[in-house]
């Protein structure tokens, strides 16, 4: 196969890649990923590392 064929295949795969990105966006929207954004932003906190507490210090300091 010469390079031209590879590029055509490349374009097809790129199209699929792009389609999958569109799908991901659509799925996220349907799945409710874009609702309740405040809750989403706070999702990295939990009981051990609650909101409002600093969680990293130089050694020996607190």
């Amino acid at each position: 196969m010469d390079w031209y064929s590879y590029i055509i295949i490349g374009f097809i795969l790129a199209g699929l890649f792009f389609a999958s990105a569109l799908y991901a966006f659509h799925w996220a929207s349907k799945n409710g990923q874009f609702h309740e954004l405040e809750k989403g932003a706070s999702s990295i906190f939990d009981d051990e590392e609650p909101l409002g507490k600093q969680t990293d210090f130089f050694p020996g300091h607190k």
Partner: protein, 459 residues
């Protein structure tokens, strides 16, 4: 997550040291070409490319695997499966890069920028990466969290983007080379996307996680962060052409690259707003946390380097800056001041929590930060200024080329000095890393830090 993360962090540190040494040698040779001139394998062409690849595929990728996968594991909040997969992948990856760098030294280098490692290692890299990618997907599939945090989006995106760009580049340039300028376009599409769709999302994932996490406040505007992710995904991959503005490529292709480069201002401003507004009023905490010092430095650098980059893509600017040291300065601005500093910060957060131990030396951390910050600032300033002057002079037909070159030498010497600062910083970092990993047996001093090792969180 403990053993794979440890493996990747240690590998990354070793590659960082190797890459720094190679960079120093290359920098020195630029103003003193006879340095180490007796050894064929250390000619500038080889050391420079070895530096590039060691830093990118050695340091950057290992750091990404450690940090990105650790954040992924934490956010997926699931029992970590198949750790062996990651270790096998890591071993293969590092063997491949070692052979690749060796290949460069013995003269097997390809002539393609960012793909200099000889193609006989590509299959090994591909296998290693596939294992890591598979792990990422499995971890995501079994996630316990309902919400997909922004960092997970960035990490997953990067995990998909990298194999795509690498494969296309390998096939279209090396395996079945495309004709003429298409190769060049593919090359710079690849090279730029390695920075923008692999390094950048991973670093942003880390910044979006650690800044709110350490400060204790959620990201200022989560909506903006989602906008930032999708605009990055939309615009970034078009921007690569800005490396060949003025080249023998259709004008519309160049223009699309410039437009995309300028549109990138949107996700960059979005990210800047988010990080700044989250950190504002908490600057004391930024100083108090080793992680945040590095991460915030990196995040601020991201804003600056991106604006400079968007400006550099304009035809009138590129006319002066192209083919000068300014481009090199810009590259280091992005890969070091942005990506590497964020990775340092991430490792300072992760390693103590993996090992249940505190960092042994506060002095080394401070040393690391200041020498790195100073070093990279000097490097960026000297290369940007020197490069700009070089560009202006080169555009002036009155000035002979050799005079322009001689004019760059003081700037290059300053760059070597900055390289020494970075080397000191990295040695300080490496000492701390090996100290905490290998020499703190039995000193489980987690008094005073919150316990972070419940079964819910990944370790």
């Amino acid at each position: 997550m403990k053993w794979p993360a440890l493996f990747f962090i240690i590998s990354a540190t070793l590659w960082l040291l190797a890459g720094t040494a190679l960079g120093l040698i290359s920098s020195y040779k630029m103003h003193d070409p006879n340095f180490l001139g007796n050894w064929e394998w250390l000619t500038f062409g080889r050391t420079r490319s070895a530096h590039l690849n060691a830093v990118m595929y050695g340091w950057c990728n290992n750091a990404i695997f450690a940090v990105g996968l650790w954040i992924m594991a934490r956010l997926c909040r699931t029992e970590i499966r198949h750790l062996g997969l990651l270790i096998v992948a890591g071993v293969f990856w590092n063997i491949a890069v070692t052979i690749g760098i060796g290949g460069i030294f013995i003269g097997d280098m390809t002539s393609v920028e960012w793909l200099e490692m000889p193609t006989y290692i590509t299959p090994l890299l591909a296998i290693a990466y596939a294992l890591i990618g598979v792990w990422g997907i499995i971890a995501f599939r079994y996630r316990q969290s309902e919400h997909i945090y922004i960092s997970q989006w960035y990490i997953l995106g990067a995990l998909f983007w990298f194999p795509w760009i690498y494969s296309v580049a390998q096939i279209m340039i090396l395996f079945e080379p495309a004709r003429g300028t298409v190769q060049s376009l593919t090359n710079w599409w690849f090279a730029h996307n390695v920075l923008g769709l692999w390094l950048t999302p991973m670093a942003l994932a880390a910044a979006y996680y650690f800044i709110p996490k350490v400060i204790g406040r959620p990201i200022h505007s989560y909506y903006l962060s989602i906008l930032g992710f999708w605009t990055l995904a939309l615009f970034y991959n078009w921007a690569g052409v800005h490396h060949i503005v003025g080249g023998p490529v259709p004008a519309w292709v160049i223009s699309s690259g410039i437009v995309a480069s300028v549109m990138m201002v949107i996700p960059v401003i979005v990210t800047a707003i988010n990080h700044h507004m989250t950190a504002i009023g908490h600057f004391r905490q930024v100083i108090e946390s080793p992680t945040l010092r590095f991460v915030v430095f990196g995040a601020m650098s991201y804003t600056l380097v991106s604006f400079i980059g968007s400006t550099m893509s304009l035809r009138s600017v590129s006319e002066i800056s192209h083919f000068t040291h300014l481009t090199v300065g810009h590259a280091h601005h992005g890969v070091y001041a942005f990506f590497t500093m964020i990775m340092f910060g991430s490792i300072y957060f992760i390693l103590p929590r993996l090992l249940y131990r505190e960092w042994p030396s506060k002095f080394l951390i401070t040393c690391h930060f200041w020498f790195a910050a100073l070093g990279i600032t000097i490097m960026i300033v000297t290369l940007h200024v020197g490069g700009w002057i070089q560009g202006l002079e080169m555009n002036n037909p009155e000035i002979p080329f050799i005079e322009v070159m001689k004019g760059t030498v003081p700037w290059l010497k300053a760059r070597t000095i900055s390289g020494f600062f970075l080397a000191i910083a990295h040695i300080a970092f490496a000492i701390n890393v090996f100290w905490i990993v290998f020499f703190r047996q039995g000193q489980e001093d987690v008094v005073g830090t919150p316990t972070l090792f419940s079964s819910k969180q990944a370790r």
